[in-house]
Assembly symmetry: C2
Homo-oligomer: 148 residues x 2
Amino acid sequence: MARSALAEKSSLALPHRHPRRTREEHSHETAQDYVEIIAELIASTGEARVIDLARRLGVTHVTVARTIKRLQREGLVTSLPYRSIFLTPSGRKLSEESRSRHTTVVDFLKSLGVPKVVAQSDAEGIEHHVSRETLQAFEKHLRKTKIA
Amino acid sequence: MARSALAEKSSLALPHRHPRRTREEHSHETAQDYVEIIAELIASTGEARVIDLARRLGVTHVTVARTIKRLQREGLVTSLPYRSIFLTPSGRKLSEESRSRHTTVVDFLKSLGVPKVVAQSDAEGIEHHVSRETLQAFEKHLRKTKIA
DNA sequence: ATTAATGTGTAGCATTAGCTACAAAAGTAA
DNA sequence: TTACTTTTGTAGCTAATGCTACACATTAAT
């Protein structure tokens, strides 16, 4: 029983800011963004190149190339020197999940009256922080307002 | 007119994933989290210590100490060796803004039927990605449901 | 086929943010 | 006061993500 008053108080009222977004969470968000964009690029232009990603993300091609290496290491994409980038099955799966969540968030925000452009923009940040429960609440609200 | 078909396509349909959350944005989010927690700690326990922050954030005291140094450099907090941490006026201002936004997001999620704990948890991630327009839409929705 | 433009790769630097390990200061208890 | 616990600090490692500068490959235009 060696806990002092000072020590006591710190384990008091305040709820722990749970697990806290770690670096891993960050890099997972990046991964989702990348596979989502890669899927979009392939769908709309036929291929995903480093430079296309760089332009979409507003970073240099160097940053993209390095990240692509990491995603390849993680089994989400395949890439060969000077060739365009492809999604692996698990990359495709992730991209579809991300896209679905993204769409839900955008539609939800629009249903609240948020202008389309803003909704799209905000969704990119928000989508990574929406739990299953909250996503379901969004969907429920969408169904309700669609019927009304 | 030297733009090839390949080059053309990349500046085509797809909207730019705007400015793209940069490292600076990340570190700004961290700053908000820190000042918010510091304010809470001071309000509830009288002081904010490195160890308290570390426990709340789920990281080691080393990480916190380094971040506090950065926040001090940025003029958000003051700290002296072995002394507790204080907010500067601009740090306090930021903490109040963050807290207000945080509260709005939590209340909004709860109004959608999201369980309190989940709402609090999700809000921490979401609050940093909510634009002024979206925040206003949240507030509007809150007013509406409160009246009903 | 050359040449020019575009895209990709590599090297190397900076910052943020996580960690462990160890040392020193401050606070608490005997 | 002394001894123990807790807190803070410092050193140094890792990883992700940003950059510039330069070299090389590929693609497009003449």
